[in-house]
């Protein structure tokens, strides 16, 4: 298990972030077993938490808070609930809405790690005298090296890749060497009631899982045109926030394409409030332009070759990375579909995370002529 370097000097004092799920429960249990001084904290992230869990939401109900408390009681550690609802609303939920309004596709879990768990929570923990924050993320962190979990299906290194070295220096992920099955078995062995609690999948702050309806409530109707790559109007939409790059369904186009092949969202332009659609071939991009990188490993001399992942649970592609103004440009070894601005480009050397950068836009240099898809008007 990884730990900050001074663990031998004195007993490590850690704060275990406990969502009420099985992963964070076992992570806390392992911290206790390691002999550390562990305090459990549940983050209250919702202004009006629901009483009972619904669907597959992860952590926002009172039931989840009680599950976390019960685990802490069984482990014999102090437990507190800290209210981060205001910070969460500003840094994660408002950001999520603003990103969609700007034509991008955000990943709120990534933002929560960056702004809440390893910022607001970590800062408070350090100021209160803790050495580190322990979470149940599936990733390996050893001597500052962040690597994929041994359980490829559960690997969460992608949503942790936005963290800085300083943030990771005070993070402990005790589960990276275990599969989810092993984690559940360990929870059962320890007598933790959450051993068989279902995994969470949905966005925790959208209770019914209906992201479209949530965004409609926040952004309202903003009707505009759906156009092809030549600018010809093919239909209309009620708001660009209903669309994500690569999306095929729900376009409701009035004119079929000349070849009769299906059309996909190629890009979203909030400035003109248009959604650009085209054929599958146009969806393939091989140049990804990104903002300034965050390096976890030593930055390699550019240009360099590595593997990149362009969305959570997405495919990995070989890529050549080079400097591009303040940011990076990645030329993909094989074109990819559905690369959306707002997601993170995470660079891997084998299992190890090198760093990440936010995707600003994509281009296509192969196939039927180069076409730029500035996925957001603010590109450049």
């Amino acid at each position: 298990m990884n730990a900050p370097a001074d663990s031998e000097v004195r007993r490590l004092k850690v704060l275990a972030a406990m969502s009420g799920g099985v992963d964070s429960a076992v992570a806390a249990a392992r911290a206790v077993a390691a002999g550390w001084d562990v305090t459990g904290v549940h983050l209250a992230l919702s202004r009006q938490p629901a009483t009972l869990r619904t669907g597959s939401r992860g952590c926002c109900s009172l039931e989840d808070s009680n599950d976390a408390r019960r685990t802490a009681d069984i482990l014999g550690i102090p437990f507190y609930v800290w209210d981060f609802a205001e910070r969460f609303a500003a840094d994660v939920i408002d950001d999520f809405v603003a990103e969609y309004a700007a034509g991008r596709t955000p990943n709120p879990c990534l933002r929560c790690n960056e702004k809440i768990k390893f910022a607001a929570l970590l800062d408070r923990a350090l100021a209160l005298g803790f050495d580190a924050v322990v979470t149940g993320h599936h990733a390996r962190l050893t001597d500052g090296r962040l690597c994929r979990s041994v359980d490829a299906a559960k690997d969460q290194s992608y949503v942790l890749a936005v963290l800085t070295r300083e943030q990771l220096a005070h993070a402990v992920f005790p589960l990276g060497d275990s599969t989810k099955d092993q984690v559940r078995a360990e929870a059962a062995r320890l007598g933790l009631a959450v051993a068989s609690k279902p995994d969470s999948h949905d966005i925790c702050f959208i209770a019914d899982g209906d992201t479209q309806a949530f965004l409609d409530r926040r952004l309202g109707e903003r009707p505009g045109d759906i156009v092809d790559t030549d600018g010809a109007v093919l239909g209309s939409h009620a708001g660009t926030h209903h669309y994500t790059v690569g999306q095929r369904r729900g376009l409701n186009l009035t004119r079929p394409s000349a070849t009769g092949e299906p059309r996909y969202v190629l890009s979203i332009s909030p400035k003109t409030n248009t959604v650009v659609v085209g054929g599958a071939a146009d969806l393939q991009v091989d140049v990804v332009r990104c903002g300034p990188p965050v390096w976890i490993a030593e930055p390699p001399a550019q240009p360099f070759d590595c593997a990149v992942q362009l969305r959570a649970h997405g495919m990995v592609s070989p890529a050549r990375i080079s400097a591009d103004g303040d940011g990076l440009a990645a030329v993909l070894g094989e074109p990819q579909r559905g690369v959306a601005a707002g997601q993170a480009l995470v660079m891997y050397d084998g299992e190890q995370v090198l760093g990440s950068a936010t995707i600003l836009g994509t281009e296509r240099s192969v196939g039927s002529g180069a076409a730029a898809h500035p996925a957001a008007a603010s590109t450049g």
Partner: protein, 403 residues
Amino acid sequence: MPYLDHAATTPMLPEVIDAISASMRASATGVAGNPSSVHTSGRQARRIIEESRERLAAALDARPSEVIFTSGGTEADNLAVKGIYFARRAADPARRRLLVSAVEHHAVLDSADHLVSAAGAELGLLPVDSDGVVRPEALAAALAEDPGSVALVSVMWANNEVGSIQPIGELTEIAHGYGVPFHTDAVQAVGTLGVSFAESGVDAMTVTAHKIGGPVGVGALLLGRGVDCVPVLHGGGQERDVRSGTLDTPGAVGFALAAELAVGRRAELAPRLARLRDELIDGVRRAVPDAVLNGHPVHRLPGNAHLSFPGCEGDSLLMLLDARGIECSTGSACSAGVAQPSHVLLAMGTDEQRARGALRLSLGHTSTAADVRTVVEAIGPVVERARRASAAVGVAAGAGRSA
């Protein structure tokens, strides 16, 4: 280990534990009677209930027939607010207004809110001054507006968070001047303040056992003989047809004894707690000069010290003190355990920053001078650390809203 959360619940008195144990053991050796049964065991249990009722009534200067046993303070508050509202409205449909102080316990406030949303009531919140005290002229004005429309006035005897004592006698007189019944939640007052049901003149009074060294799960509504009240719990009608449910014989025994002991020891306990409280407040202010005392500086519960520490989060303070073995409270906690800015402090006009940094230290029968010393020694470093934590996160500066 200093336990400074007596306002939440008190350690049970050993004598009370013995009496409850004896009563429970008796049920295993022959006297297992339901107090409502007519056979010998039932009659024996009934006798114990009625003796307990008489002893409780005597301790609180009420008549035995005015004691309605309940499951605790929350049930008694619900019964008073809902039961008297429904009875008054049944007698005259115009009586729909509830006048309730803004600093009531949620058992009263939420009962009133429920009547608004489900039973056509109107809620008039009585404002408090910056010390948390209801001004009699505010009640008089609210009543004078339309006296015939008021169903009930409810103002607590002493506030559970900031400890301020309300002018119950004066308020009751004003309500009675308009023929309106008056309920008071005296849960925090019994044992440290002189509480006489008869002398106070109130029509209904909530009391509970676990705040005075008795068991959790038993309380009572003292309800004047002439006060109409509709049941909230329906069933066998065991308690004056106002409250149903099999009576808890050991609980009644424990409550009666705890009340006798608390009232009997009040003359010694109250001044001792007041001295300890003043030492605590003075010591904390010496260690943290900008700490602010909330609630009335004089007319407050002898065991209550409620302080705000500017630039701190109350829950940081709570955690840091807990780690040093000092147990206290941020004043109000919802079921998730999240410290919300207190409705009591907000009603007093306290700004949100001061409300967030509030800590309630409540002393009781187990408190000692050593407890006070431990807190006074710990509070300086704890506040300093909590301030650094707030500054680090930027909560104190409201940075959470900046995005």
